[in-house]
């Protein structure tokens, strides 16, 4: 279904004289279609108990984004195809390598370390560089990537594992301070350190969207784990205080907020991009101008942060609302994984990963629609960009894996050994026979 949908969209865009798409690029689309076919087959084989909604919804989002990117410019379509291959490859690799999600628990401190290293990496002289105003890029040889995209997954794993282990301790060790129930510092310390560091680093790298994402990830996970609303209140208060401080301390934050409140009078400089995006979407109206018939290239970064505006222009409110609905389905499916999960670690990890997806989606679409100030994060699965696509496919793989694990546990599907386990078994058998 999703494949037919994406192929149809591609044909529509190709038909328009206003794009420079050519037949020579058709193999790119076919490659991406084949990738989903492969992914689907592998999921049936190694995770047949997984939620049947997850992969198709992602395929629809990824496909719509891919067609829009290909329609905007050939050069991006070329690279996006490469990223799609790498992304789906990462999806399959994680699916095969992580047989039992619970195994991830053992790696919690490694995850924390690696996550923090990745976060700091862009600030290392010689490695990191600044693009689009944020120092969140790392360049190793010919490959440029945003390590923060992967750090978010690693930190989610760490938090899930840590909170799973100590949530009772955290809750029980509470003492009252200033009318608030606070847990003992030593239980909360690693969380506070990781959270503080990541937020600090992200602020230092001038990437507000990501720091907001980390912030909500930690607060939400803490809240879900401890079931204490106090964390939500304190977290929100901290966030408001931080946002206010940032507004007065940093010029770029202030200018973002000012542009958010009134982009119209700043049309000739900083307000140009958001206003152009609104014009584009208004021109699209209810039904859109049709794929390939609009002028989304007039919006700066239409293939990247502003891809939702390009969708709104060419597919209209109907198309954009369908995309929103797809994200709601995805978030809903992620939450269902969390609800059904039988172990707290899996629950927490699923909640964390889904929160990352939901907050990131809300922050960027909300930025484009002027619901919140604009911050530069990518739209999961749709925006152009390798790091984002690959890391979100890893998130998807983890969700699929956990959903499958739950189904096996509930005996909905027979519990068969995982690929790695089978390999291990076979090696053991061989050793046996040799003896």
């Amino acid at each position: 279904m999703a494949c037919v949908f994406a192929a149809g969209a591609y044909a529509l865009a190709y038909d328009s004289p206003r794009t420079d798409m050519s037949l020579a690029r058709l193999p790119l689309m076919l490659t991406v279609l084949a990738l989903w076919g492969l992914a689907h087959l592998v999921v049936r084989r190694v995770a047949n108990g997984a939620d049947a909604l997850l992969l198709p919804v992602v395929a629809v989002l990824h496909g719509t984004g891919f067609v829009m990117i290909a329609r905007l410019a050939n050069k991006w379509a070329d690279l996006q195809t490469v990223w799609s291959v790498v992304g789906v490859g990462a999806f399959l690799a994680v699916l095969v390598l992580v047989d039992r999600p619970l195994d991830l628990r053992r790696w919690q401190w490694t995850c924390l370390g690696a996550g923090l290293v990745l976060l700091v990496l862009p600030m290392v002289p010689g490695l990191g560089f600044t693009s689009g105003g944020a120092r969140i890029w790392v360049s190793i040889g010919p490959i440029n990537f945003q390590p923060g995209e992967f750090a978010k997954i690693l930190l989610a794993v760490f938090f899930a594992a840590y909170l799973d282990e100590r949530r009772t301790l955290i809750v029980q060790s509470e003492h009252r301070l200033w009318g608030l129930n606070l847990p003992e510092m030593r239980h909360l310390a690693p969380i506070a350190v990781a959270w503080g560091l990541s937020v600090l680093v992200m602020v230092g790298q001038r990437d507000l969207g990501s720091s907001l994402m980390f912030f909500s990830l930690f607060v939400v996970m803490l809240w879900v784990a401890t079931e204490k609303t106090g964390y939500l209140v304190v977290g929100s208060a901290l966030f408001l205080a931080g946002a206010t401080a940032a507004y007065f301390l940093f010029d770029h934050v202030r200018s973002r907020v000012e542009v958010w409140l009134d982009p119209w009078s700043r049309f000739t400089d900083r307000g140009y991009q958001p206003v152009k995006a609104l014009f584009g979407m208004a021109n699209g109206g209810l039904w859109g101008e049709g794929l390939g018939n609009g002028q989304p290239s007039a919006i700066p970064a239409a293939h990247n942060d502003f891809i939702f505006a390009a969708i709104g222009e060419e597919l209209g409110m109907m198309g954009a609302a369908a995309v929103l609905a797809a994200y709601v389905l995805l978030v809903g499916a992620g939450m269902r994984v969390a609800l059904r999960a039988q172990r707290d670690f899996e629950k927490l990890l699923a909640v964390g990963l889904t929160t990352i997806l939901a907050v990131q989606t809300f922050v960027i679409i909300g930025g484009v629609l002027r619901v919140v100030p604009l911050t530069g994060v990518t739209l999961p699965f749709m925006s152009y960009g390798g790091s984002s696509l690959v890391s979100n496919y890893v998130v998807l793989a983890l969700l699929v894996r956990m959903s499958d694990a739950t189904a096996r546990e509930l005996r909905e599907v027979p519990s068969i050994p995982g690929v790695r386990e089978r390999v291990a078994m076979r090696l053991a058998q061989r050793r046996e026979t040799r003896r």
Partner: protein, 489 residues
């Protein structure tokens, strides 16, 4: 834990619901306003870089064209050969800053796959005279053809060079626009039709008309010779220009432009009749003009406002106070006197053509096969301002102004009868440094009117503020009438 997860899910659904509401807000609810916004004229680079049709004047001069370039990212450059002579009519066509006026209004025709062309009613010879006669002073000059409402010249100072805005270097164009936007006199706006000014004594044309039509005034009316008159509801006396003693019959007080007789007439007419009268001239209504952003002339109050303040009505009677008129509107009012009381819609587009290649401008005219014409702008009546008899009486009074009145110094052409009214709109309060706009509005020949002219010099300089409408604006109007009457058409 599950309950928290459910709450979280609900929270996310609510957040996405907000996104959906805002999406429908932009794409449906506020769509029309956004689509109509003049900045919403995004051109992709491909569409931008295509040849566009020409804009030519009625006497065959090209004032906007696309020329091929050898260097740079784009092949086609929009060029305005006359520089700063026509920006307020052609507008400009840019990649990043949108397009304005005819470049915007006629965009579908000009940038069609077979580009069309636009012919304007403006005559290049008259437009050049207007620019030269204003000699860099802030203000505007308008020439209108009485029989059709066609604008034959319309030039405003300060002006700007559309070539600089249309240059492909975005940074250079932006720097130029910043300078223009910072100028307090607003060069991007044509003060001939996008601004309004206190009309001073030129407004006495309206007061006289309303007086004659309501019977408050007749050709036999006489006014006492006086220096001061205290109107009702106040202790402050009204004075004549420069504190002179002034009076006599209608012809004399009109010729000499006494203030007190018209103040008395306004009070005699009364608020409701007076406001109804100015509305017949189209005040407080949008000028039906075929360029963007025409300003609206205003009388500065409703009948109710003046009921308890007849003194204010008295002051408005001779064009002071809060009454403001758009110069082009004054030209149309003047033309309506010349036209026996019929006021036409002013217009600047003469004809549009389907194929630019079939249009041959030159030798003082524009030729094209008849079937290439898309549209010829029709002559349309806007309002009936007065009876033909009233128009005849006014014409006689206005001829007196040039024969022996306030314009006798400066608006006489041997062998041509000219009807005119001057205005010196005093902007400063009593006792402060003199600051005034200089106006003249006229038509000729008085016995068979062809052209109406309105010249307004803004009181932004010492020279203009020290002079009168007759002395300052008169010579400009004279040059324009001479050129129009001797011209090719």
């Amino acid at each position: 834990m599950n309950q928290r997860i459910r709450h979280l899910t609900v929270a996310f659904v609510v957040l996405f619901g907000i996104l959906f509401m805002q999406l429908s807000n932009w794409q449906v609810v506020r769509r029309d306003a956004l689509v109509r916004d003049s900045r919403n004229n995004t051109l992709d680079r491909e569409r931008f870089d295509s040849p566009r049709g020409r804009i030519v004047t009625a006497d065959g001069v090209v004032i906007a064209e696309s020329v091929e370039k050898d260097t740079g990212e784009f092949r086609w450059q929009r060029r305005y050969p006359a520089g700063d002579l026509y920006p307020h009519i052609t507008g400009h066509y840019t990649l990043s800053f949108g397009s304005t006026q005819l470049e915007h209004l006629e965009r579908r025709l000009l940038s069609a796959s077979t580009p069309g062309a636009v012919e304007v009613t403006v005559r290049d010879d008259l437009q050049r005279v207007a620019q030269a006669a204003l000699a860099g002073r802030d203000g505007s000059a308008v020439v209108v053809e009485v029989a059709t409402g066609a604008v034959l010249a319309m030039y405003s100072n300060p002006t700007y060079d559309p070539n600089q805005v249309a240059q492909h270097s975005g940074a250079a164009a932006e720097a130029y626009l910043e300078v223009l936007n910072a100028d307090p006199e607003k060069p991007l706006l044509a003060n001939a039709f996008q601004e309004r000014y206190m009309p001073g004594s030129t407004f006495k044309i309206l007061t006289t008309t309303i007086g004659l039509e309501t019977g408050a005034l007749t050709t036999a009316s006489t006014f006492p010779n006086e220096r001061r008159w205290v109107p009702p509801n106040t202790d402050n006396p009204i004075q004549n220009y420069a504190g002179k003693t002034c009076g006599g019959d209608l012809a004399e007080v009109f010729r000499r432009s006494c203030n007190i007789p018209f103040a008395r007439t306004a009070v005699a007419i009364g608020p409701s009749e007076f406001v109804a009268g100015v509305n017949r001239f189209g005040l407080d209504q949008t000028l039906p003009f075929d360029l963007q952003g025409a300003a609206t002339s205003t009388f500065g109050g409703t009948a109710g406002d003046f009921d308890n303040s007849l003194a204010l009505l008295a002051i408005h009677g001779f064009g002071q106070g809060s009454v403001q008129v758009v110069p082009l509107h004054m030209a149309m009012i003047t033309a309506s006197v010349a036209n026996g009381g019929v006021m036409l819609e002013p217009r600047v587009v003469k004809r549009t053509f389907a194929d630019d290649a079939l249009v041959i401008p030159g030798n003082g005219t524009v030729s094209s096969p008849i079937d290439n014409i898309v549209r010829t702008t029709p002559v349309r009546q806007w309002r009936r301002t007065m009876a033909a008899t009233t128009a005849a009486t006014l014409t006689t009074s206005m001829e007196g102004v040039t024969q022996s009145g306030t314009a006798a110094c400066c608006l006489q052409i041997p062998g041509v009868r000219i009807a005119a009214k001057t205005g010196t709109a005093q902007l400063n309060p009593e006792g402060e440094k003199q600051r005034s706009h200089a106006w003249i509005t006229a038509f000729a020949p008085a016995e068979a009117p062809k052209y109406a002219v309105t010249v307004m010099l803004k009181g932004t300089s010492e020279e203009i503020s020290a002079g009168t409408g007759g002395r300052l604006a008169g010579p400009v109007a004279r040059q324009l009438l001479v050129a129009a009457l001797n011209g090719a058409q």
